[in-house]
Amino acid sequence: MTDPKKTHPSDTDIRPHTFDGIQEFNHRLPNWWLFTLYGAVVFWLCYWSYYQWFHEGPDDRHRIQAELVQVEAAKLAAMASSHLDNASLWAMSRNPVIVASGRKTFEANCTPCHLASLRGRSENKLAIGPDLTVRIWIHGGHPIDLYHTVTQGVPAKGMPTWGPILGPRRITEAVAYVLSHHQEGEPIIDAATLPPGSK
């Protein structure tokens, strides 16, 4: 039992150093505090042996590898399910569900320039975008060219790069909607093949 009047334990309890006139007692930590240290040591042993000594757990390289494989698989699956080529785009343009969603995307994003009728400058000379219903195509004569034009844009003329904004699904649907105003097999003229000045 400590003597009630004793306010200073013996001087040997005081550690030798002095910082800014402040001295420290040499008291023990609470035991529960020490146990947190021992607990941390035990945790470290388990963790380190699990991951580093016995390589039981996956390391970062394997985890990234596994995730990349997943991403790759998802990409391949998406490609397999909607393999894009001229034929599949034509087929989609006849599917009313796809055309309806494509129409929504088109009306939200494309009408300021190409107008709701898709007829652009044919309807209004001051419209920004060209007519999408005629058979003279400016940037390639195949549906897949249309898809690439929308995805990559034509920055020089003001057609935005829609790829990162809309993503492949919505672009595909919008292209299907535009194609729904055309017939497969109709004579399409690639404007690039026309002699200059004949457009």
């Binding site: 009630p4 306010t7 020490l34 009306e107 994003n109 920004i128 003329k157």
Partner: protein, 465 residues
């Protein structure tokens, strides 16, 4: 009977020399502060228990819906995008705590901290009912294990666990809402492992803290107690012993003795195990138990109360007291700054977020004698109901016009919509770049947000004066 160990200022009472724990068995105490604290604690517990049940504006009064990233606070709904407001909340609470501490010392610790509220008014009450007062509890703890002791321990810990389960469940209710909590409670654990494990862990932590850890949290872990020495000064209201009046200690009626009769009541009621007569100490949580204890003794000995009382260090030393101090002015001005910014922040929060960027490509296009700028407007609906937003452009120069604002835009609940916005101006009217504003409004939902955009074009004689 003096306490088994007399506290001193050089060691922590609850840590023995060998590092083991010295458990405390604080004696019962009655008095005006104990009563006031009991009432305020029960009110606080009621607030904690009821907030998730009270609907305000279709949501619980406080519902931090982490899964949907929507935070409902008394009818105000914040989205993850509004997280920056947290800065003002935390700094505001910080400065408020600074002010309260500079004025009233550890008022928070003794009266409002969940640690004290639950410990003193729930867990210690249970302990008192099951095991008796301080002396009985100490005797019981020292007694060898027998059927009686085992039965009492079982009852006490069972009650602790029940209360801890309640606290943990209520805590989870703040994040998932009561109906979802009930659905999980009545469903099989396997269907919501995360919640089940969380409740198990939280209950365990709460139980351990209140059954065993107790004052160790205040003394060793909580940073607030450690900050006292910089937050308080000589004019802060603290709990202190009037040494001038009390010393020298001696039995009532003894020659030349002060008012303290050295009965050690104040020490035996202290839940942190200190002797308040040794001055302001880091362990003291300002619970006022010693004030009530001593006032009772003073009443018995026919002396005025207040030998141990709420007072400032200056007041206890019979020096002039001051309430208004420079530190208070500084804390208040900082708090005011923060509160103003936070009020502005809350008022500028809209259920719909409007942003706009330039579309990829050139900054402007020249086409058929027209200057054209293309933007992409993004609308994010942060509420649970659809919004029908109309875009509107104002501040265009004469001859300029907007495309893409004709139709109302339906933004689904918690969804987002993109729209191109095109501004055109004929070359003949174009006189250089200018700023204009875009507005998004939905009168039905109280939405009205705007932002400023720049219209760019070729350099003109006028644009570079």
């Amino acid at each position: 009977m003096p306490p088994a160990h007399h506290p001193n200022r050089d060691t922590v009472t609850t840590i023995r020399e060998d590092g083991s724990r010295r458990f405390l068995y604080p004696a019962d105490v009655r008095g005006r502060f104990s009563l006031a604290r009991r009432i305020s604690a029960l009110l606080l517990i009621a607030v904690y228990a009821l907030l998730p049940w009270i609907p305000v504006g279709g949501y619980p009064a406080v519902f931090l819906d982490v899964a949907a990233r929507r935070f409902h606070l008394f009818g105000l709904t914040l989205a993850a995008q509004d997280i920056w407001l947290l800065f003002f909340l935390i700094t505001g609470l910080g400065f408020l705590l600074f002010i309260v501490t500079a004025l009233f010392g550890r008022l928070w610790c003794g009266w409002a901290c969940p640690q004290t509220v639950f410990l003193d008014h729930v867990y210690r009450r249970i302990e008192r009912w099951v095991e008796g007062d301080g002396v009985q509890r100490r005797t019981l703890a020292d007694a060898p294990w027998g059927p009686g002791k085992i039965a009492r321990a079982a009852v006490k810990h069972a009650a602790y666990i029940v209360v801890s389960l309640g606290i943990a469940h209520l805590f989870l209710a703040y994040y998932v809402s009561i109906p979802a909590l009930w659905a999980m409670m009545t469903g099989a654990p396997g269907r919501h492992w995360a919640a089940f494990v969380f409740i198990a862990l939280a209950t365990g932590v709460v139980y351990f803290n209140f059954a065993w850890f107790r004052e160790q949290l205040c003394i060793i872990i909580c940073p607030y107690g450690r900050l006292q020495s910089v937050l308080t000064d000589d004019h802060t209201l603290i709990i202190g012993y009037d040494a001038a009046r009390g010393e020298p200690r001696g039995p009532a009626g003894a020659h030349a003795a002060g008012d303290c009769i050295a009965c050690d009541r104040c020490v035996r009621v202290c839940p942190t195990g200190i002797d308040i007569r040794q001055g302001l100490q880091m362990e003291c949580i300002g619970c006022a138990a010693c004030v009530d204890a001593c006032d009772e003794v003073m009443a018995h000995t026919g002396r005025p109360p207040g030998l141990v009382r709420y007072d400032s260090l200056a007041g206890l030393a019979r020096k002039p007291k001051r309430i208004w101090r420079p530190r208070l002015a500084i804390y208040s001005v900082l708090l005011l700054f923060g509160a103003t910014a936070a009020t502005w922040g809350v008022l500028s929060i809209h259920p719909v977020l409007l942003t706009a960027i330039r579309l990829t490509g050139a900054p402007y296009y020249l086409d058929q004698g027209i200057v054209r700028n293309q933007y992409l407007v993004r609308l994010v609906n942060k509420q649970n109901s659809p919004a029908t937003v109309r875009l509107d452009v104002s501040g265009l120069r004469p001859g300029a016009s907007a495309r893409g604002v004709e139709d109302a835009i339906e933004v689904p609940p918690m969804g987002e919509e993109l729209r191109p916005l095109i501004i055109e101006q004929s070359r003949s009217t174009y006189q250089g770049p200018f700023a204009f504003r875009v507005h998004a409004a939905d009168p039905a939902e109280g939405v009205d947000v705007g932002l400023s955009l720049e219209f760019l074009g070729p350099a003109t004689a006028g644009s570079y004066p």
